[in-house]
Amino acid sequence: MNLWVVLAVNSITLGGLLFLLSAGFSLIFGLMKIPNLTHGSFFMLGAYLATSLIAHGFDFWTAAILGGLLVAALGGIVERLILRRLVGAELAQVLVTLGLSFMIADVCLLVWTGDPIRIATPAALRGATSVMGLGFPTYRLAISLIAVVFAVLLWMLLDRTRLGAMIRAGVDDPAMARVVGIRVSRLFTIVFCLGAWLAGFAGVIGGPILSVYPGLDQEMLPLALVVVILGGSGSLVGSLVGSFVVGFLYNFGQAMFPELAYVVLFLPMLVVLVVRPQGLFGRQAV
């Protein structure tokens, strides 16, 4: 298969994973004003937990959902016990999430050792699917499909439900949202758990492609940061577009300028920062 097509497929796959990762990151940042630096750790932890779940006989998809739920539970604990104590002290919250990310990374190293672990591709999705005369790896197509499904679900959640309306109100003006009777602090917990679940789930379904290894957290976190800076925080469309832009830049950058892949990745972010600091789809802070 043509190299460019392969790269494009890989880019879309990575973009899909990044969307799952960064949609939660972006919502948390938009609502709670916390750049949650444990988000990369959630991704990695979800994948590690799934490897253990699969080793205990669960099938891939159950492990993905359960792994996500365990991560979400941890996220809930972190939000309730620690971040809740630091309301208003945004900087302290950032530092705590950073400290937690180190702790999670070290515990993962202790439990799952330093060797990379590959999650086996689910049996039904192995091999290639032929689309328009070209053979595509089925699993990568599936990831792209999952990302699209989640994008639609999240959009419906945010745009069509009462909870979504409350979240949007919380993002736009938390003080006013409280005045009209929305329990913003409960939204914090819901959004934080949802974001953690998405990150953990993304880690699991990314497992067959990326595998899991120490340092995965620190590799994914900057990507999520770039997506959010590019797309604008609290914007679902921004996350979606940003994810695919980053997916393409990362894969094509690595293929064409292997030594400068990181620079290629961050340059557009810098351009956006200079030209449009609130991000492509972000709204100007009130």
Partner: protein, 318 residues
């Protein structure tokens, strides 16, 4: 009285190699000094300017990498130092222009991203940085013909640089410029209304901070005679910030005490347990949650409160 304490502290620090016993401890003392310089540099932004950077290890590392490259190209020590610091200042300026597009959390996020770019380059741009293997250098410089090969002599040289750093910080804090930096932290809008160029003040503070981070990075290179991507990892930036926060931000002694704490705990912890990163993270969480103003002031506050709780309560009228 304070002058006496200052002289006593200086004598105490200057004579460390004489009484501390054992080169291992002298080396730890040297590490404390150059990390203290780094922490002082970070404190200019995090403490006085209210701009928390999580990418300063990038500047620290760039100085080390630039120094190593220039030295291995066969240039003299003066060229190495000037070149490394020049490169660091240029990169600091570029970082400042980008990072100052945001304040508060935006600034934090941009500095994380910038720091990760430096890490990515150090790790991946193998033809320049030798990737994960890092770059080794031939040896330490000999300023004014004095050899720095022994731990004690290196300590003394680091101490001189440390004094310069502390002195420059003292001058900075007391100067009108220092006051205007604190002004942009506390009241940026009023400072702007008063006619100060807030952006330029922050930019210059960033350069000042970057300069001392670079000096610390260069000392780190001389100390280890080796630099690898580990020096520019996010963990390194976080450690520097932890030093500042642990000791107490926007104070002169805080970052120094914090550097001593982190270096000592790191060495003690890694001697007994493997899990330094876990300890680092835990210290971070505990300090931020329980003692946000820093260990020294925080301990004092908790101690006072405990004492007050023991005393009989004064009457309401009192």
């Amino acid at each position: 009285m304070t002058r006496l304490a200052l002289v006593a502290a200086l004598v105490f620090l200057a004579t460390v190699p004489l009484w501390i016993g054992g080169t291992y401890y002298v080396n730890i003392a040297s590490q404390i000094l150059f990390y203290a310089i780094f922490a002082l540099g970070v404190n200019v932004l995090a403490g006085y300017a209210g701009l928390v950077s999580l990418g300063h290890a990038g500047l620290f590392g760039i100085a080390a990498y630039a120094g190593a490259r220039i030295m291995n190209d066969g240039h003299g020590q003066l060229v190495v130092a000037a070149g490394a610091l020049g490169v660091t200042l240029l990169v600091s300026a570029a970082f400042a222009v980008l990072a100052l597009r945001g304040t508060g959390l935006g600034f934090v996020m941009i500095t994380v991203a910038l720091g990760q770019i430096v890490w990515g380059v150090a790790y991946r741009w193998i033809s320049i940085t030798n990737g994960d293997n890092g770059i080794a250098i031939r040896g330490r410089p000999s300023p004014l013909g004095l050899s720095l090969t022994t731990p004690a002599s290196f300590y003394s040289a680091t101490f001189v640089v440390f004094l310069l750093a502390v002195g420059s910080m003292a001058v900075f804090v007391a100067s009108p410029f220092g006051a205007s930096v604190r002004g942009t932290r506390d009241q940026p809008l009023r400072m702007n209304a008063l006619g100060y160029h807030v952006w330029m003040i922050r930019f210059l503070a960033f350069l000042f901070s970057g300069f001392w981070s670079g000096v610390a990075g260069l000392l780190y290179l001389y100390y280890n005679q080796f630099v690898s991507p580990q020096a520019v990892a996010l963990t390194a930036s976080a450690e520097a910030l932890l030093m500042v926060i642990a000791g107490g931000t926007a104070t002169l002694l805080g970052p120094i005490a914090g550097a001593a704490l982190v270096v000592v705990v790191k060495n003690v912890a890694s001697a007994y347990i493997e899990r330094w990163n876990f300890v680092l993270g835990a210290i971070f969480v505990v300090i931020v949650v329980f003692m946000p103003e820093g260990l020294v002031p925080g301990t004092v506050r908790r101690w006072r409160r405990a004492l007050a709780a023991l005393r009989p309560r004064p009457t309401a009228a009192g």
